[in-house]
């Protein structure tokens, strides 16, 4: 067991920007034995993926290894020729990417991509590799293992693709697999299936792995030892149980404490209060495909209603109905007790102002060619009619609200901001209309935990100051726990359960709420094992079929 496989010493990596080389990784060292799993953790930008790829002797365009050594089974990967590295990659060292949907070639069938490695490396002929692929699909509990490989990537769901990619990594039975955030893009219920599959197969073939993630609870289930990175520096490394129970460094402790933010419970809403937004028996369809069925919920002044559910459960569709982007096929949307036109084009400017939206991907929601001042200034002018110095003054106020120094940020472009700052600009843009109600669509799910917490605190502060109501769409139950007043649980376009947060988090739950709640990884390294025992493997299989 304790045979050394990978030895990384003082690894330094530089990235090029504006014609100069800047350090990205400032000396990273670790050992990995055969069959061992190393968890690599840190915020985005910490250099986890860069280190993971460097462990394969690979650097992305614009990066270079500037110092240190990477030795895989005695082979010096830093100085090895491209041909030597090609001989190892895919054959003895494999990679599982974050987004399987983007990392499978859309032009080829899954099984052709699976067999490519073994055939090109001369490990086994095509037919044998196909048989083997089906066997791996079966072990990874993919539905229809004989048939699923003959589909194209777009015909397979995200969780299944992630498992198919794990199978592909296994195709040549490598000694080492780099898992780069393989479950980050998945729903909690799907994540469990993938985690369990990965863990089983890595154990079965005694494969060593580097498991990269920003989610501590996930890495706790997967890794034998954990290494923490911060902005290209090593923070600490220890075996998993020690790291969880007794972190040494301040930074690690702060990571561990992230989920502690919680808002106090607010008094119950008076029975005769008129909700700010009321969704009444709304059904909606995309073309002829119905996606929402008789959905009703109210959002009261100064309250946060969290709408939770997996992707495809209709959360965002409900938001589109409220904003009028998707007129419902039946049912009514009311603002302050008054029904409003279903189509946003028939709404008055006042009605449009009332409901604003903050998006998941601040990257794509902000125009990359406009400065922050222009982005926030536009709704100020459009809705509030301010121009010139009055507009500038209002934009400065808004920037202060979101805790960005106006003089410093007014003229910057979105690309010059960090993810969290961009999301703050998204918030300011929504606030510019002085709305009563804001829809937050997965606003923290693309952010690191520390940054996400900052955004949640900001939203809470703004709610207290301005009396805003939020509809908070999320699949992350930790977020719900920290910010929500009421919770609406959705599944397959229907509301399965709704009520105050306290009720939702105390049993008994609806069966689906229970499944969601129990699927949120906990920091206990035995959590996954215990959960799988409690549910039984069959249950997982059913869940997989249910995802089809």
């Amino acid at each position: 067991m304790s045979e050394l496989l990978l030895k990384v010493r003082d690894l330094m990596i530089e990235g090029r920007s504006d014609e100069t080389w800047n350090p990205i990784i400032n000396g990273c060292s670790f050992d990995l034995n055969k069959g061992e799993v190393l968890g690599m953790i840190g915020e985005s930008g910490a250099g986890k993926s860069t280190v993971g790829l460097a462990a394969m002797g690979f650097t992305r365009d614009g990066c270079r290894i500037s110092g240190g050594t990477v030795e895989f089974d005695g082979i010096d990967l830093v100085n090895a020729s491209a041909a030597v590295k090609r001989g190892l990659l895919g054959k003895r060292i494999a990679y599982v990417a974050q987004s399987a949907a983007a990392s499978f070639n859309p032009a080829h069938r899954l099984i052709d991509q699976h067999t490519e490695g073994p055939v090109q490396h001369g490990v086994m002929p095509r037919e044998e590799s196909q048989e083997d692929a089906m066997e791996l699909y079966r072990r990874l509990r993919l539905p229809n293992p004989e048939e699923i490989g003959f589909r194209y990537p777009h015909q397979v769901s995200g969780g299944q693709l992630q498992r198919a990619m794990t199978a592909m990594a296994m195709a040549c039975r490598p000694d080492l697999i780099i898992f780069d955030e393989p479950t980050t893009a998945l729903d909690v219920t799907t994540q469990i299936e993938v985690l369990a599959s990965i863990r089983d197969i890595v154990e079965q073939f005694n494969t060593a792995a580097i498991y990269i993630t920003h989610d501590l609870a996930v890495v706790a289930q997967m890794a034998d030892k954990i290494k923490v990175l911060l902005k290209g520096d090593e923070v600490e490394e220890a075996d998993t149980r020690t790291m969880l129970s007794d972190p040494q460094e301040e930074y690690t402790k702060s990571l561990w404490a992230v989920r502690s933010f919680q808002r106090p419970t607010k008094p119950a809403v008076p029975a005769d209060a008129v909700p700010v937004v009321s969704v009444k028996n709304v059904s909606a369809a995309y073309g002829k495909v119905p996606v929402l069925f008789d959905v009703s919920f109210d959002i009261h002044a100064g309250r946060t209603v969290a709408v939770v559910g997996e992707s495809g459960s209709g959360k965002s569709t409900a938001a589109r109905c409220i904003t009028g982007l998707l007129p419902p096929t039946s049912g009514v949307i009311e603002f302050d007790g008054e029904p409003i036109p279903a189509d946003y084009r028939s709404r008055t400017k006042m009605q449009l102002r009332q409901a604003q939206m903050i998006y998941q991907m601040a990257d794509t929601a902000l125009n990359p060619r406009k400065t922050i001042g222009e982005i926030i200034g536009r709704p100020v002018q459009f809705y509030m009619g301010l121009t010139g110095s009055a507009k500038r003054k209002r934009v400065d106020e808004l920037l202060n609200e979101i805790e960005l120094e106006p003089s410093q940020y007014f003229h910057r472009l979105p690309s010059e901001l960090s993810g969290g700052q961009k999301q703050r600009v998204g918030i300011a843009r929504a606030l510019a209309a002085e709305p009563k109600f804001i829809i937050c669509d997965e606003v923290t799910s693309a952010l690191d935990q520390l940054v996400a917490e900052g955004i949640l605190k900001l939203l809470a502060k703004l709610q207290d100051e301005l009396g805003l109501s939020y509809m908070f769409i999320t699949h992350d139950l930790a977020t719900v726990r920290s910010i929500a007043d009421e919770v609406v649980v959705m599944k397959d376009g229907r509301v399965v359960e709704a009520g105050p947060k306290k009720e939702m988090f105390t049993p008994p739950h609806h069966a689906y709420t229970d499944l969601l709640l129990s699927s949120v990884p906990e920091m206990d390294p035995d959590w996954l094992t215990n959960l799988l025992d409690a549910r039984g493997v069959d249950n997982i299989g059913d869940a997989a079929v249910g995802k089809m």
């Binding site: 394969m56 090609r86 190892l88 054959k91 990679y95 983007a102 070639n105 859309p106 032009a107």
Partner: protein
């Protein structure tokens, strides 16, 4: 496949509509040409009576709308009318005007020659362009890449006739490898025809390669940052195979579009090259007909050119759609 069939039928219907609109434009444009056949053929000493009688004989005295629908009705049934010049010649020899050579008879052999030349050129230019594009993408920013770029760009920037004379000088005069006159005729066997067409085909190859090659290169390089290309590299796949089997299939749509545009150019825009090599293609016929205001032939040529453009772009659209697995294999 239901959705694909529907898309193809939609595009086909749109193509027909475009062709109809183009036919109106052609008719108006041709009628805007100064002078007419009668004046052109009778020259300066024409008496008004003679002009009027020729006009009457050719139906030029009818109102434009009537003439348009007569022409369109005929064209739909495959009758492109009679060539004025031939009809006139027939009347001098005393035979009946209607039995003169039809436009279709006059255009058909010329159009066949044009298609032959376009076919030979495409058979050389398309594979060469894609091959060079793939290599340039593979060795991007290398000497090879730059040299290919410079060569193809200089050839596309030079006028066709200049390229033609350069090729004649090197391949026909200094080294008599190929004939500089491409006077092909019916009954020639294929190999002889091929040899005679080779110099114009090479000239045209030089003219169309640059765009196709550069689009191939750009479309491939555009994809090289995609996660699935990185994945292929991390599987230890060789760089050539990464480009050919992983990038190229996903880059086909823009490449096909550019190929179609260039093929359309080969059918409609090669008159200069035809003149230099005395190649009896449709381009020369077209220019000659414009000179003598032989309106039925001009209109028919225009219509054929338009149809070629529409048809090639249509096939490019359909092939691009088919190159997308999402449409070929719906969920």
């Amino acid at each position: 496949m239901g959705s694909v069939t529907r898309i193809i039928l939609q595009r086909l219907a749109l193509g027909l509509l475009t062709l109809f609109i183009v036919s109106i434009v052609i008719f108006i444009a041709v009628n805007l040409l100064p002078g007419d056949f009668a004046e052109a053929i009778l020259g300066q000493g024409a008496t008004p009576e003679a002009v009027a009688s020729i006009r009457e004989g050719l139906g030029l005295d009818k109102p434009p709308i009537t003439r348009y629908f007569d022409w369109l009705g005929g064209a739909i049934q495959g009758d492109l009318g009679s060539s004025f010049a031939q009809a006139n010649f027939a009347s001098f020899t005393g035979s009946d005007a209607a039995s003169g050579t039809t436009v279709a008879e006059q255009i058909a052999p010329r159009f066949k020659n044009t298609l032959f030349l376009a076919g030979v050129t495409a058979a050389i230019a398309v594979p060469v362009s894609i091959f060079l594009g793939v290599l340039a993408a593979l060795y991007r920013n290398s000497i090879f890449d730059r040299a290919t770029n410079i060569l193809t760009l200089s050839s596309i920037s030079s006028p066709d006739f200049f390229l033609a004379y350069v090729l004649i000088l090197f391949l026909s005069v200094l080294n008599p490898l190929l004939p500089s006159l491409s006077n092909i005729y019916d009954g020639m066997d294929f190999s002889e025809r091929l040899v005679k067409s080779l110099l114009p085909a090479l000239t045209l190859t030089l003219a169309v390669t640059a765009q196709m090659m550069r689009m191939t290169r750009a479309a491939i390089i555009n994809l090289l940052a995609s996660p699935y290309i990185e994945m292929a590299r991390l599987k230890g796949i060789s760089p050539m195979r990464v480009i050919v089997t992983h990038a190229l299939p996903n880059a086909l749509a823009p490449i096909i579009t550019v190929i179609a545009l260039n093929l359309a150019y080969l059918i409609t825009g090669v008159v200069v090259v035809e003149v230099v090599f005395v190649y009896p293609g449709i381009g020369q016929l077209f220019v000659d007909s414009v000179k003598i205001r032989d309106i039925p032939v001009v209109q028919a040529c225009c219509l054929i050119f338009a149809a070629a453009y529409i048809l090639l772009n249509l096939s490019a659209d359909v092939l691009s759609i088919l190159s997308n697995p999402r449409l070929r294999h719906p969920k």
